[in-house]
Amino acid sequence: MSDSYIRPDEDFEAFYLKYYKFVYRVCFIYMKNSFDSEDCTEDVFVKVLGGKYTFNGEEHEKKWLSVTAMNLCKDKLKSKWHKSVVSLDGCEEISADCSFGIDETLREVMKLPPKYKDVIYLYYYMGYKTEEIAKILRKPSSTVRNHMREAREMLKIKIGGEQK
């Protein structure tokens, strides 16, 4: 991790260009369509722009962005408006309008409930250990491990990892 402190608001455009895909990917896992994913991505960066945050290196930036994106997505998914739109359209399924191919692994991950996506994303994509995930999610390590186990059981794909 770099020791330099970064103020994204001082060069916001560069910060945005560096991380917009990263944030979009997190959002897409939760929102399942490009429209909502873009909306949530925008909200994350609006937060950065208005927050005057200081990050302690790239690792810190990624952690903050991913966790903030996860929270914003879950807030949006819980909102009455979003629920009503989903129920009307019946569009719980993954959107077919995306410009990239969704492979089986991604499809299975996106089908998971949000609490399982959290741990799968943080563990298998971000590479955090269960103790770190527990701190990030503010849940006991045992809960995180249970979520990990349950998520693995729900995934049709075979993935490895610790079972603590």
Partner: protein
């Protein structure tokens, strides 16, 4: 650890071609819009406080009137305020209404005076508002007015100069911690030691319905485990027939762990059993782990289960 398939799958998510520019423009618009909202919110506090005062005064006046009828006198100024506010006052209007209206007029005048004062010296004015941006709930921020040279009001979020992103983590995650306790497993569960590779995990078919069994590999040794409700038959009573050597290995908290050694041909099969007050646990090795190894694995399992 990371999983290459998951990393690859997620890295394969790509925004649309023109999304980069579109999102950037929208971000700037949203940020600007947030500023506009803040400007509008400067009028909320006087309005809310006025309404609250009116309600309180009305309630107080009602109670007052109930107890002391016809004893409240009103100043001429109060009547004037009421009349200025458009109320027609006559002898049949009750005292509470007159008092309320008069004080409302007074508060309105005060607010108007306050707004005028703010316009002249905005640095002396402040508002307390709820910040709900970015999914943060229950977070309060203070906003201070600053009068720009063009005469436009811009509100600055003074809180955001204080926290680092770490503080924001704390704020953002509060609502997701509520179900943590409720999600504690109510059925038998087993956590294998750290870095163990779990091979199987599930409800046993040949034992009690609540018995959980599984297998894992740890440091090259193959272990099987079983968890069942206290008082129920584990279905694996090989160690209970008295043929196995029994040794109490250590009392881990309330676990009362016991090591069993069963001679099987030229092999010794070790099993450790313990309880945690609700469930009974069994950890068994049959591929040559020695006593020290299985006690070490059991010790870790006891700690985390």
């Amino acid at each position: 650890m990371t999983d290459e398939r998951i990393v690859g799958a997620i890295d394969g998510i790509e925004p649309e071609k023109d999304a980069e520019k579109r999102m950037y423009e929208n971000i700037l618009k949203k940020a600007e819009l947030n500023g506009t909202k803040f400007k509008a919110l400067r009028y909320i506090k006087p309005a809310v406080s006025t309404a609250a005062c009116v309600c309180l005064v009305a309630a107080a006046a009602f109670l007052l009137r109930m107890e002391i009828k016809n004893t409240v006198s009103f100043t001429e100024e109060a009547h004037n305020n009421a009349e200025n506010a458009g109320m027609e006052i006559n002898a049949s209007v009750n005292d509470a209404a007159v008092l309320t209206t008069a004080l409302t007029g007074f508060i309105q005048n005060e607010n108007e005076a306050q707004i005028e004062a703010c316009e002249q010296a905005p640095e002396d004015c402040s508002l307390s508002l709820e910040a709900n941006a970015g999914g943060e709930e229950g977070k309060f921020a203070e906003f201070a007015d600053n009068l720009e040279t063009e005469g436009e009001y811009v509100l600055e979020d003074t809180l955001i100069t204080q926290p680092t992103a770490e503080k924001d983590f704390d704020m953002a995650f509060e609502e997701y911690t509520e179900d943590t306790v409720a999600e504690s497993p109510s059925e038998p569960s087993f956590n294998a030691p750290e870095n163990a590779q779990v091979l199987t995990y599930g409800v046993s078919n040949d034992a009690s319905e609540n018995a959980l069994t599984g297998e894992f590999v740890y440091e090259g040794r193959h272990y099987s485990f079983a968890v069942w409700n206290l008082g129920e038959d584990s279905g694996a009573s090989a160690q209970n027939d008295g043929t196995a050597a029994r040794e109490e290995i250590r009392n881990y908290s309330d676990a009362s762990a016991v090591l069993y050694a069963q001679q099987n041909g030229d092999k010794v099969i070790y099993e450790v059993r313990w309880e945690n007050g609700k469930y009974a646990f069994s950890l068994k090795n049959s591929d040559g782990a020695d006593k020290k190894e299985i006690i070490g694995v059991a010790a870790e399992a006891i700690e985390i289960n």
